[in-house]
Amino acid sequence: MAEVDTSSGGSHKKGPGVKKSKKLSTRVDLTPMVDLGFLLITFFVFTTTMAQNTAMNMNEPKDDKDKEMKVKNSGAMTILLGKGNQIYYYYGQLEAEKVSEQFKSTNYKDIRKLILDKKNATPIDDLMYIIKSDNESTFKNAIDILDEMTISAVPPGHYAEVDMIPVEKELIKQTELANGIK
């Protein structure tokens, strides 16, 4: 590969009649070996850095009934995590006569825009995302939604995980039945 034949014909140094012994080169072409070496390096570099695990911080609030926070209706968005990677949400408080209007469903792809729209439309002091997980939602769902908060740069303290109330559970059940989600 990197070698060009440069031996220049038969020169008679030892005079005529003396048989020329052919010298064989002891040099080995190392090019393929270098190739292999670097290939292995690349392989190891790529495989080792990919497996790095990261850690996400979690801060839990202290359960204290006296210090329960009041949230403004205008600034609240409740996100309910259901089964089958479904998200249900509503703004403010559920009102009995307007439930079907308020209660909407979405998925993990579209929730980002909804979170962002809410954030842009609300003064930051009033903003509050209330996250409630259904018993059949997965660990991944809970982490994903917290991650969405980070992605949309919602400041800490403006979102919280809260237990679901029976009315919401019932609504989720009804919607699941209507949409045929198993």
Binding site: E3, V4, T6, N53, T54, N59, R112, F139, D147, A153
Partner: protein, 217 residues
């Protein structure tokens, strides 16, 4: 006019040096990377945009796909203290022989009342057959374990302990189990912990992406 002789030079490049470098680097990388111990509990963690690396020394709680909870005490300096504390506070009455055996376990995934009999078996119970530490609201044994952990670290900086608390869960584990784990932490006044996730790139055009960009400038 005499012919000008152009000396023909060899184009052969000596590859020995390059070869040496390549293999030196290869050896370095192989030796420098830590061999990950084969994971007995296979867990597929969810992804997050967080970029902080998970600490090596940790008290790791693993949630498997089928909802079992396992505890791994990764800090060798305190492992003995934690296990002894658990033994006395829960009244397990393990003798020194059994304690020594328990300390050698890589992870704990059995209810407290089954520990003694398991320790007297000739063979360790494989991970797939361990039933996990009970975490349900009536009998949250994980919170007893966490109490032993806090006892063992008492006197030290709480923040050091918080840095070590890790929860690693399978994406498909159901939420209530995670909630039980959180309750076990809360019961012991541990409000900060970390979740092991797999790294993910910040989505283009998101708020976080924009702030990250302005910070760099």
């Amino acid at each position: 006019m005499p012919k000008v002789k152009i000396p023909r030079k060899s184009t052969f490049v000596d590859m020995t040096a390059m070869c040496d470098v390549a293999f030196l680097l290869l050896t370095f990388f192989i030796l420098a990377t830590k061999q990950k111990p084969p994971e007995v509990l296979s867990v597929k963690t969810p992804t997050s945009v967080s970029s902080t690396a998970a600490p090596e020394k940790s008290i790791l709680i693993t949630l498997t796909k089928d909802g079992k909870v396992f505890l791994m005490l990764g800090d060798d300096t305190k492992k003995a203290a934690i296990i002894e504390d658990f033994n006395t506070t829960r009244g397990l009455q393990l003798n020194s022989n059994e304690l020594a055996k328990l300390k050698k376990w890589e992870f704990i995934g059995l209810p407290a009342n089954k520990l003694k009999s398991a320790l007297n078996l000739a063979q360790e119970i494989p991970a797939s057959q361990q039933e996990g530490i009970p975490t349900d609201t009536t009998n949250n044994e994980l919170s007893y374990w966490m109490r032993s952990v806090t006892n063992a670290y008492a006197g030290g900086d709480q923040r050091d302990l918080e840095k070590m608390l890790l929860v690693k869960g399978d994406g498909e584990a159901l939420y209530p189990i995670f909630k039980n784990v959180k309750n076990a932490f809360k019961a012991n006044d541990l409000f900060k912990f970390r979740i092991v996730t797999e790294g993910e790139n910040v989505p283009l055009g998101s708020e976080l992406y924009k702030t990250g960009k302005t910070e760099k400038k």
